[in-house]
């Protein structure tokens, strides 16, 4: 069964460093998303991406964040200068064009900023 895959599963980085989280969405999906979940808290929307551009972003998604689809299969989230409060699980999701627009999530990347 097709699935969204994310790498790495766990990333530890020093404060101020740049990190890139990678995702391979389901192949026939056209909408891509990043979410984050701070430990014990809600799953929060960060950004959605369609047709090679951001379609919506939250207030969390500030200038330190960027997304890219560098080729036909990968979808990346870059955090330019990580802060301690960026520590969270980051989930990538994808969906196809359908009336329900069901979103399927990856297993997540646990980002720890020290």
């Amino acid at each position: 069964e097709p699935e969204v895959t994310q790498t790495p599963s766990h990333q530890v980085t020093q404060m101020g460093q740049e990190v890139i989280l990678r995702c391979v969405p389901i192949s026939n999906h056209l909408y891509f998303y990043w979410y984050r979940q701070i430990l014990g808290q809600k799953v929060e929307f960060l950004v959605s991406f369609y047709n090679n551009e951001i379609s919506e972003k939250s207030e969390i998604f500030d200038d330190q964040f960027s997304v890219e689809r560098p080729d036909g299969s990968n979808f990346t989230l870059k955090i330019r200068s990580t802060k301690l409060e960026d520590s969270a699980m980051y989930f990538c999701a994808s969906s196809k064009i359908s009336s329900e627009r069901e979103a399927f999530f990856g297993q997540g990347t646990r980002l720890t900023v020290v």
Partner: protein, 112 residues
């Protein structure tokens, strides 16, 4: 931002009991999705409900979408320890399928 309130927040029951989890909002949704999330993993889609009043069954899980499409419920019959997890409802904001927002979640623990 539309708010999806789930209740209860926590539920601890014995194996074999029945339970119902609620997802409420003041907003109308074109569809609503239920997910289950286990610790350290991503949300796994269980079901999507689309039509007001719709009822969908997934083995021992019964999902209902409110007539006005503002609320939904998840009923589990004869809960098993394997049902333990965080249950999340989610819906797109009305702005057109770009932003899926999640509810506050119900954490379920089923003890043997």
């Amino acid at each position: 931002t539309q708010l999806l309130e789930q209740s209860p927040q926590f539920l601890s029951i014995q194996e074999g009991e029945n339970l119902t989890v609620y997802c409420n909002s003041s907003s109308v949704f074109s569809s609503l999705q239920w997910y289950r999330q286990e610790p350290g993993e991503g949300p796994v889609l269980l079901v999507t409900v689309v039509t007001g009043g719709e009822v969908k069954k997934l083995k021992r899980l019964t999902f209902q979408f409110g007539d006005a499409r503002k609320d939904s419920s998840l009923h589990i019959t004869a809960a098993q320890p394997g049902d333990t997890g965080l249950y999340l409802c989610a819906a797109y904001e009305n702005t057109g399928f770009q932003k899926l927002v999640f509810g506050t979640g119900t954490r379920l623990l089923v003890s043997p």
